[in-house]
Every structure is written in structure tokens, then in C-alpha cells.
């Protein structure tokens, strides 16, 4: 459980970090909280020759709400997300999801940037970002670009991030006032990755669902934005027929790994249960 050797760097700006990555080449990796990367390094599943620690870069911290847009710096920890009263008031699904990740020690160090950029299908934030239609802000030596969360994930640990790029922030619109939200996560024990989880955001217009956004965690080799499941409840009164349709549409796109969390059929079944519970909870919270 001893990692391989590496040189350690601690730049003080995004530009310095990007330059470092460019000069060090593809044997360099950034480290944020390290609670995905370091366990992999201890198993020698990752053996970078250079580690670029982002913790001194002030521009990567902070939560701001400006003109209807929320921007969260990549190095913001889960604990900081949970503590933010501004986020809790405008976008409560974030705190709900964060509290379901790992344990207090891990949440003190683990970051939103690491959780979304690593491409680990077990991470919870990616599906949440897809449900919220978030954009990831990416910096490279040529400058800045944006990638939609819904287009970022290609396969387990493969994302749209190119060599030498750093995800610097996530950005999304403030959800409509009165929206309903829920993140339902089935797990073997507190702190485990999801057997299956569903993020739901919706708005109601009287008794009718006006907008809906559903995404799934850990039931494929990427997070899944469940477009058909979302469409299945829009314009309905969220009666059992609509929920059945949404659950069926969600289950149709799952492709879970069989592992200690259960066989394929079980995990797909649980995904359906999570979708149903999340829609019901979100509807109850909507006004």
C-alpha cells in the first residue's frame, strides 16, 4: 500500500498549474482532495510521476451567486458545500447529496471538482450536475472552455478533459423558486457508494408537473441523464401511470456493474425504486 514515487508541486495560480501540466506532460496529475486519487495510488492503479497539488490556488475556492447563476470553485470541499447557507436556501439538493457522500473526514477534504472531474461512476455529484444542466469550466494553456455536464462523461474514468486541462469551477442556473428536489441513494451502509441513486429536480404548475430533470448514479459506467424518464412526467399530475412510465424509462437505460452491491437486475430494480421515491419526495417539496 505504498504509492509509487513522484515529484510534488504546489502552484499558487491556475495559470501556473496549467503551465506545469504542459511542461510535465501526461505523467503529471492534479490532486484536489485526493480521496479518489490517493487510494488508487496506494493500490498502484495510478502511478503519476508528478503530482500537482491545487490547494494553494485561491481562485479555485468560493461559492458565488450572481445574476441568477451559481458558480462553485472546484476546490470547494463537500463540508463547505454543506455549510453554505446561501446554497441551502437557493439549491438545497446540493446539501442533501453532499451529506450522503462518504463520512465527515472524507467530506472535510473531498472537493466538488474532484468528485465531478474524475469520471468515477460511483461519485454522486456528476448525476446531480447533469440533473441541474450544469456547465464545467475548464482551463488549459489556450485559455478557457466550457463543457456541459451532460456531455462530459465518456466511460469509467474517461471524460472530456484533455491532458493538461484543469476543471476550475462548476456553474448552473439558480433553480426556480418553489422547485422540488430530491436525491435518493440506496447504499449497503452509510458512506458506501450507491447501489443506485437518483437526482430529481422538478417544478409544479398547480397540480401539473411543468419541468423535470432526472439523473442516475452508479448504474452504468457513467452518470446517466434520464431524458426519457424526465419527459415521461412532464405535463402529468404525477399519477401512478406517469411514475410507472418514468421508472420504466429510467430502468431501460441502466447498465450497472455486478459487484458486491448486487447483481445487475437488482441494481436496475433499485434504480427504479430510487427514481420513484425521488419524484415523490421532490413533488412533496415543490410549491
Amino acid at each position: 500500500m505504498i504509492p509509487g514515487s513522484f515529484d510534488y508541486h504546489r502552484p499558487e495560480s491556475v495559470d501556473a498549474a496549467v503551465s506545469l501540466l504542459a511542461s510535465l506532460g501526461d505523467e503529471a496529475r492534479v490532486v484536489a482532495g485526493g480521496h479518489s486519487l490517493i487510494p488508487m495510488m496506494k493500490l498502484r492503479m495510478a502511478v503519476p510521476e508528478h503530482l500537482v497539488d491545487l490547494q494553494d490556488i485561491a481562485d479555485l475556492k468560493g461559492i458565488s451567486i450572481d445574476d441568477g447563476t451559481i458558480t462553485i470553485g472546484a476546490m470547494t470541499t463537500q463540508a463547505e458545500l454543506i455549510a453554505s447557507e446561501e446554497l441551502a436556501a437557493t439549491c438545497p439538493i446540493i446539501r442533501e447529496t453532499s451529506l450522503l457522500i462518504a463520512d465527515p473526514q472524507v467530506r472535510n477534504v473531498g472537493t466538488i471538482g474532484g468528485n465531478v472531474a474524475n469520471g468515477d461512476p460511483g461519485n454522486d455529484m456528476p448525476a446531480l450536475m447533469q440533473a441541474m444542466n450544469a456547465a464545467y469550466i475548464v482551463q488549459n494553456s489556450a485559455g478557457r472552455r466550457e463543457v456541459a455536464a451532460r456531455e462530459f462523461y465518456e466511460a469509467a474514468f474517461f471524460t472530456a478533459l484533455e491532458d493538461g486541462e484543469i476543471l476550475t469551477a462548476v456553474q448552473f442556473a439558480v433553480p426556480a423558486s418553489g422547485h422540488g428536489h430530491a436525491y435518493e441513494k440506496q447504499k449497503r451502509k452509510i458512506g458506501d457508494y450507491a447501489t443506485a441513486a437518483a437526482a430529481v429536480l422538478l417544478t409544479m404548475n398547480g397540480g401539473t408537473c411543468a419541468t423535470a430533470s432526472i439523473a442516475l448514479t452508479n448504474v452504468a459506467n457513467t452518470p446517466l441523464y434520464a431524458e426519457d424518464a424526465s419527459a415521461a412526467i412532464i405535463g402529468t399530475s404525477l399519477d401512478s401511470a406517469a411514475l410507472d412510465a418514468a421508472v420504466a424509462a429510467a430502468k431501460a437505460i441502466t447498465d450497472p456493474a455486478e459487484d458486491g452491491r448486487g447483481p445487475v437486475e437488482f441494481r436496475t430494480h433499485v434504480a427504479g425504486v430510487m427514481v420513484r421515491r425521488a419524484i415523490e419526495k421532490a413533488a412533496a417539496r415543490a410549491s
Binding site: H35, I38, P39, Q55, A102, D103, Q105
Partner: protein, 164 residues
């Protein structure tokens, strides 16, 4: 690969050493500084036996490289007891209420409980259990750990009230 110069404060004492960057904080503490209170339980970031208090936060020291802790203030179980060796209220409560059997998880558990009670001085049992979810115990079934923390919280709060 090149060694790095590491400076940190551990249990109130300033420390400066050259270290191989791949040295995990837990190994630095145990093997370079002879601070063997924090334990290596699982090495997979689950059990929390390695928990230390870093810049006022509970952190799993097996999942951090020594360079990441450069410049930090670290407190381990050794720093939680008094300088004269007297027991912290939490340590005494664990002893009194059987919050340990083999004792392997105990340094990490108490180090976490120490910070938990600063974050939330009057936790419910449910909040205690959620608060120590990062610390696993194979012996006790947690019942007396939760009780010890509850009792320690009460004692710390009465002492605080008496002082005010």
C-alpha cells in the same frame, strides 16, 4: 524523486524534516516522529483509525501525502490528553463507560469525537452516530462509544456553564 522539505506543528511542537513526497501523513507521524497513537486499520480510507485533527478538521491521515500537510497544525490523540498526562474528559468517559475493548480504533475515535464536540457541543445520539460514521469499531457495537461521547459532552457543557 526529489525529497521535499516539510514543516508542520504536531501536538504543539514545530517539526521540520525532509521527506519522500510519497510518504503518507500517517507514516510520517508514526515512523518519522514516533507518534504511534494514530493507527493504520484498513489502508483503504474506510476505518478512520488513522484520524488526526488537521487545521481544526478531522482528517484521515492515511489518505493524505505529507506534502499536503505542509504548514499545517496537527493534533493527534497524544495532544488531546493533558501535558502532564492527565486524561481529557473524552478519554475518561471512554474508560469509565467501556467505550473500547481492544482499543485499536480508540485513538482515531476519540480524536474524531474531540472535533465533533467542537463542531456540535450538544449532539443528539443520532448526530453522534452520524458524526462518527467515518470511524469503524469491530469490538463494541458502538453502544458505549456513543454513550461515552454523550457523557463527555454533558460534562464539557456543565464545565463551560460553571465557568461562565
Amino acid at each position: 524523486m526529489s525529497k521535499i522539505d516539510v514543516k508542520m506543528t504536531v501536538n504543539g511542537t514545530e517539526v521540520e524534516k525532509a521527506a519522500d513526497p510519497r510518504t503518507l501523513l500517517i507514516h510520517f507521524l508514526r515512523e518519522e516522529l514516533d507518534i504511534t497513537g494514530p493507527h493504520i486499520g484498513c489502508d483503504t480510507s474506510h476505518c478512520g483509525a488513522c484520524t488526526v485533527d488537521l487545521d481544526g478538521k478531522s482528517v484521515k491521515s492515511c489518505t493524505m501525502f505529507v506534502g499536503q500537510a505542509n504548514g499545517a497544525e496537527v493534533t493527534t490523540i497524544e495532544g488531546i490528553s493533558g501535558d502532564d498526562g492527565s486524561l481529557h474528559v473524552l478519554q475518561d468517559a471512554f474508560r469509565e463507560h467501556h467505550g473500547l475493548q481492544c482499543g485499536f480504533c480508540t485513538p482515531g475515535m476519540i480524536t474524531r469525537a474531540y472535533r465533533l464536540l467542537q463542531e456540535n457541543p450538544d449532539p443528539t445520539d443520532e448526530e453522534i452516530r452520524f458524526g462518527i460514521a467515518g470511524n469503524l469499531c469491530r469490538c463494541t457495537g458502538y453502544q458505549n462509544i456513543v454513550k461515552a461521547i454523550r457523557v463527555a459532552a454533558q460534562q464539557l457543557n456543565s464545565a463551560q456553564e460553571a465557568a461562565e
